[in-house]
Each structure stands twice: as C-alpha cells, then as structure tokens.
C-alpha cells in the first residue's frame, strides 16, 4: 500500500529523523509560508527550494526519486488548473500553480518521511492542537489499515461474483449491493470499536490516556529550527 513505503522511510536514523517533531513541523511551516507568500515563484527561488528539499531527502537517506514521484500525487489537480490558466492566457500563473503546489507537497513529504506519524501527532500537541483531536487522528491512522484490508477483501469477494461497478445485472442491484457492503463494513467497524473499548477497560483505562515519554527539545533542535527559518526567509527574498 501507498503509505507503507513512507512509514518505512520514517523509521530511519539520520540527523533529520532524530530532530524533535515540533522543530520539524515548525520548520515546515516556515518553508511553506515562504513558498506561499513569495511574490510569484521566480525560477531561481524555485530551484533553490527544490535543491534544499532534494538535499534534505538525500541527507535523510530517503530514496530521492521515490520521493519525487510520490509528491507528484498533487500534479493531476495542479496540472488541470494550470492548463486552464494557460488556456485563459495566464501561463505565468500556470507555472506558479504547478511549482508552488509541487514544492509544498515535497516539503510535507520530507517531514512525514523523517517523522513517524505518532511522533508527529504528539509533536502537534506541543503546538497547541487539542489532544482529543490528535488521539482521534491516531486511531484513524491505526485502524485505517485494518478496515481498509476488510474493504479490500469485500471488493475482491464481490468482483468474484461480478463486482459492484461493472455491467451485468440491473444497475440498482449493484448499487444496493455496494450500499450493503458499506453497511456491513460499518457494522464491523462499530463492533471493532466496541471491542477496543472493552480491551482498554480491561487494562485499567479510567477515562484518560497516559502517554509514555515526552520528547526533549534539545539545542540541536533549536539550531535546526532557527537555521531552517533563516534559510526560508533568505530564499524567499531571492
């Protein structure tokens, strides 16, 4: 699956991997804001951002080509609008749309490829995001894999008997079948949630999540944060 690769990358041990999640998240914000608020996107600034990000991936020992390809996930959306812009006589804007969105996606990818998601979410708590919301996010991510595997086998099972989507029986039958599959998936998810709750109670849960270790924000993290901010400001000025 798509995410599995990113997760593997995030398990690395490089300098970037070892930085505190809060430092990396803040550095990402600086970079994104620099890209977003820059006046247009001069080729020079764009290339420098790109070079910095590529260096980042290389330093983190994440396959650069793989990362470049993954960040291309934004391109269909961007290219569609860029085409419209170009046709309506604004080719400069078209280039900006594609450039800015791709660079931003690449920057986000560098963060998640060097920070396991649970650590990242915990880092956000330090920035003031409500813990409740983060815990919901953590559970979404955890059970994504479980429920998606169930959905995949349902789709498979259906396709062995003609599938939901393709032609064959009446449109309505297949529509109802797909709705039924979702309802069954829903009921199974609901049951899983109840079992999880039971299992939490059995292990002494009393209404509040206690978490292990709060990461330390060390001097190296400060250095990293401040220098990335400085770089972002300088490059924006190009």
């Amino acid at each position: 699956m798509h995410h599995a690769v990113i997760e593997r990358w995030s398990q690395g041990q490089s300098f970037l991997h070892r930085r505190d999640a809060r430092a990396k998240a803040a550095a990402l914000l600086f970079l994104l804001i620099a890209i977003a608020t820059g006046p247009g996107l001069p080729a020079a600034a764009g290339s420098v951002y790109f070079a910095i990000l590529v260096l980042g991936f290389a330093a983190a020992r994440v396959p650069v080509l793989g990362a470049l390809a993954r960040a291309a996930a934004v391109l269909p959306f961007s290219l569609a609008f860029a085409a419209i812009a170009a046709v309506s006589g604004d080719p400069a804007r078209a280039a900006i749309l594609v450039g800015k969105s791709y660079l931003s996606a690449l920057a986000v990818l560098l963060l998640v490829a060097t920070t396991p998601l649970p650590k990242l979410l915990r880092g956000f708590e330090g920035i003031g995001v409500p813990r409740f919301l983060l815990m919901v996010g953590q559970f979404v991510y955890r059970y994504l894999f479980v429920i998606a595997a169930q959905a995949a086998s349902m789709r498979l099972a259906a396709s062995c008997r003609g599938g939901f989507g393709k032609s064959g029986s009446a449109h309505e039958t297949r529509f109802r079948a797909a709705a039924g599959a979702l309802a069954v998936l829903f009921a199974r998810s609901y049951g899983a949630a109840e079992n999880i709750h039971r299992s939490m109670l059995s292990r002494g849960f009393e209404g509040h999540f206690h978490l292990l270790r709060n990461p330390r924000f060390g001097p190296a993290d400060w250095t990293f944060l401040l220098s990335s901010a400085a770089v972002a400001v300088v490059v924006r000025g190009i």
């Binding site: 961007s78 800015k100 969105s101 815990m135 994504l144 939901f164 989507g165 998936l185 999880i196 209404g207």
Partner: protein, 304 residues
C-alpha cells in the same frame, strides 16, 4: 475537492486557518461533552471506515463509478460535532500522509468539508429527519447532497477569490459535475442508511423534526450564497465586490481585515483586489458563522 498548497492567496488561506481553528476547537469541546476519552476509538474507527469506504465503488452509469464522501453519514451517526472532529482528523491525515490537500490550505479544506460540509449535511436531517418515512428519506438524501455541493462550491469560491483563473465555461462545467457528485452522495448516503437500518436500527440517530423555518432559510441561504459566489467570482471579476458594496459590508469588511494586516504593509489595502477578497471572505465568514451558530442552537434544542 482537497485544495493543495500554492493555490490559495495568502489572505484566503490565512483567514480560513484563523476561522477553522476556533471552529474545530468548538467542535472538540462539544464532542468531549458527549463522548469521553474512552470513546475515542469509536471516533477513530469511524474515521478509518470513511477512509476505507472510498474503496467500495458505486456504479454511476456508463463506465464510471463514485464513492461515499461520508460527512453527512458521520453526522447522522455521531452527531455533527463529533463528525466534524472525525472529518478534521481525516483531512489532516490525508494532507500529511497521502499528500492530498495542503497544510496551509488545511484551514480551507476543514472549513469546506469538516465544518460547513458536515453542518450542511446535518441540517436537513435535523429539520426534516423526524417527520414521516418519506420526509426522512428526503432529508437523508438532501443531507448528503448539500454536504458535498456546499463543500465543493466553497472550494471553488476560494479558488476564484485567490485569483485562480476560472473562465465561465469551466466554472459552469465544474458546478455541473459537483451537482452530479452531490446527487450521487445523496443516493449513496440514503442507500447506506437504509442498509444499516436492516442491520441495526440503533446506529442512526433519531432526528427531532423541528420544522424551524429559520434554519431552513439559513441552509438555503448558505447554498445560495455559495452558488452565487462561484458565479460572481468566476464570471464577473468585480461582481463579488459589487455585491458586497450593495450589501454594505465591503467597507466594514475592509476595516475588519485592515487591522490585522495594517502593520504588515501600509499601502497594501489600497488595492481593489484585496478589498474584493476581504469582502468575499467576510461573506464566507458570515455563512460559516451562521452555520456554526445554528448548529449550536440545534444542538441545544436536541439535548433539551
């Protein structure tokens, strides 16, 4: 439609981030009042369900298929505040892990889908869901329909306000496509709710038909404003501003937005472009505030 970074102008994304943060905060507070931390797994697993639901394709017609978006369905099952929280978590994970939607644009995407989309999906259900069987069906369908339509139109407005070129034919085609996918969402939501009720009638909340005319008007206004916004933002570059001036909000809005930006760059506000943007944003903010305000009112009524 998940807007990536690089598309929205600074004013638009910043304003929407500022708007979305307290809205999500409010939703979290309300959710915590109803669900304790022990129910976090339920919210999380339901979020995972909405994610996974994209893998089940529904036949649409000649060769194409669509899937559930889920905002309205979540609201019917969990109530709107929890549904907003779950959708917010989903959008954040999509932005981070799947590069689907931007980080700076997260406020915009949350506003469109997790806040306004969920409220717009919940409202019809709240209003008419308590009526007879037919009324209930219509309400469920309408909820799915409006949630997707309003979210998509808002996204289009934001893009238009940000100056992303959108010639009239493109805007027209987009709106047409949105209507189709909104109809599909309505149909899927209804079909899934019906199937769920054969499994366990307890899953879907019972709505109190309040028949509040005011709320219906708010809903209709939200949809209408969003639609009008799209048309003006695209076909009449200055139309939105004109509308705002007519409504008398332009001046006030400019002042409202002037304060935070005043130190940033003095002459900045002179630009007509910014006035237009400010007016548009103020309009958006009004729509959102109305939806949120009504949501609070509705929730109070239900718990009463």
């Amino acid at each position: 439609m998940h807007i990536p970074d690089g598309f929205l102008s600074t004013q638009v994304w910043a304003a929407l981030d500022v708007l979305a943060a307290p809205a999500v905060g409010l939703a979290v507070r309300k959710t915590r009042r109803e669900f304790d931390e022990g129910r976090i797994p339920l919210l999380g697993v339901m979020g995972a369900f909405v994610f996974a639901a994209q893998m089940i394709n529904f036949p649409v017609g000649i060769g194409t298929s669509g899937h559930l978006v889920g905002g309205a369905l979540l609201a019917y099952v969990l109530g709107w505040p929890a549904a907003s929280v779950v959708m917010t978590a989903i959008l954040a994970i999509q932005a981070l892990v799947f590069q689907d939607g931007g980080i700076l644009a997260l406020g915009a995407n949350i506003t469109n889908m997790a806040i306004v989309g969920v409220l717009a999906g919940y409202l019809p259900f709240h209003l008419w869901g308590g009526g007879g069987a037919t009324a209930r069906k219509i309400a469920i369908f309408a909820g799915g329909f409006t949630s997707v339509l309003v979210s998509a139109l808002l996204a289009l407005v934001q893009l238009g306000l940000s100056g992303v070129p959108m010639p009239a034919p493109v805007a027209g085609i987009s709106v047409g496509l949105f209507v189709v996918s909104a109809l599909l969402e309505g149909a899927i939501t209804l079909a899934v709710v019906q199937a769920l009720e054969t499994i366990n009638p307890g899953f879907v909340r019972t709505a109190r038909g309040s028949h509040s005319r005011g709320a219906a008007i708010v809903l209709a206004t939200a949809v209408f404003l969003a639609a009008v916004g799209v048309i003006f933002a695209s076909t009449h570059p200055d139309g939105l501003e004109q509308l705002a001036i007519n409504a008398g909000i332009s001046q006030r809005a400019t002042n409202l937005f002037a304060t935070p930006f005043a130190d940033y760059e003095a002459g900045f506000l002179q630009s007509a472009w910014l006035r237009k943007a400010a007016a548009g944003l103020a309009g958006l903010a009004l729509v959102c505030a109305a939806c949120i305000g009504f949501g609070r009112f509705a929730a109070r009524k239900r718990s009463a």
